[in-house]
Symmetry: C2
Subunit: 212 residues, 2 copies
């Protein structure tokens, strides 16, 4: 569906059912889409393969209906099974070159990095974009390494020529500093899904990014 070179990385939502306090995942994501997210990653670290697959099938329908690309976290099998628009791998997931080979050239492949060496390696191995962080301290389990700060984020952005999105602890209060690094967007979990009004939270972040 998507040309990997034409993806809008401005506001990239990563899901985390744990932060929803019982609210429905699909309603939450639909609210975030209405608020203006441009890209969506389904992330399930505890689900069985069957449950992940069934969530991904439903999420793909939702994402397609709103023409938002759906990226699957970690699990290439789930990405292939639901014909997702792409896959995001971390340093503990399948190597980028293996994922690229199995995914084919037409899908979006992202990789989490926390320094320039990992960034260069991922770019050379065939990643379409990088998720760089964590930029700030964060409560999400997604990121456990020490914060790289906006300086670290800028160094990564300057090292590669593929798009870079900052991730980790980014919200309205620090989005300006992140944008000044020159990155292509921000990836958030709690700044949207941890908010009481998810649509508004997404809308405010999208607007704040555009304003600058």
């Amino acid at each position: 569906m998507q040309n990997p070179a034409r993806v809008d990385y401005t506001l990239y939502l990563v899901t985390d059912r744990g932060i929803l306090n019982g609210r429905d995942l699909f309603e939450a994501v639909e609210a975030a889409i209405k608020g203006g997210i441009t890209l969506l990653q389904l992330r399930e670290k505890e689900a069985s393969s069957r449950e992940f697959y069934e969530l991904a099938v439903r999420m793909k329908m939702l994402a397609d209906r709103h023409r938002i690309p759906l990226i699957i976290n970690d699990r290439l099998d789930i990405a292939l099974a639901v014909d997702a628009d792409g896959l995001h791998v971390g340093q503990e997931d399948l190597p980028v070159e293996i994922a690229r080979r199995l995914l084919g050239p037409g899908k979006i492949l992202g990789c989490s990095v926390s320094n320039e060496e990992e960034a260069l390696q991922a770019e050379r191995a065939g990643a379409d974009y990088l998720g760089a962080g964590n930029v700030y301290p964060t409560g999400s389990k997604e990121v456990a390494t020490p914060p790289i700060g906006v300086e670290g984020l800028r160094r990564i952005k300057d090292t590669v020529s593929i798009p870079v999105v900052g991730i980790g602890g980014i919200g309205l209060h620090n989005i300006e500093a992140v944008k000044e690094t020159g990155v292509d967007g921000i990836s958030v979990i709690s700044a949207i899904l941890g908010s009481r009004d998810i649509e508004r939270a997404a809308w405010e972040l999208r607007n704040a990014w555009r304003r600058q």
Copy 2:
């Protein structure tokens, strides 16, 4: 490497690092191969994707060296990444028809079942063989449903035309009763990997199956 129709299901070892008490997984599997296992399944329920992938790469080399087919448990992505000989899915894993489509026709696809309905469904969806059980009570985490007994195993075998292996609590003391059901082999974890002399344990099981 393998023609799915020509697989020898006699003695099918499923790995479990937890039962090895610190012994090396690859040494344990090599001993089991020397003892006479005919099929090998790498099962990793706790590993990260990267760790699973790296274990699978090494296991594939070991299995190829001994011309034993390697089946990957649950994770189609890992099976594709290492070009394993097949995939085994449970009822909580990817649906058989999805796995079949993504795996292609040349690979071995197995499915865990515990009754005739699941057996028929898996056969129709494209499974090459069934792992039916658990036959007896077992301490392994692999199987949590109530034992189906040799009667349940026989009913499953009589329901389908693809090969069926019994799994769950099978050892030297009850292998005769299992064989009498007409199944094509047994799948074991602890009867081999929980044994002090792994090669001998495999050899005794293989011999007991042949003798009858």
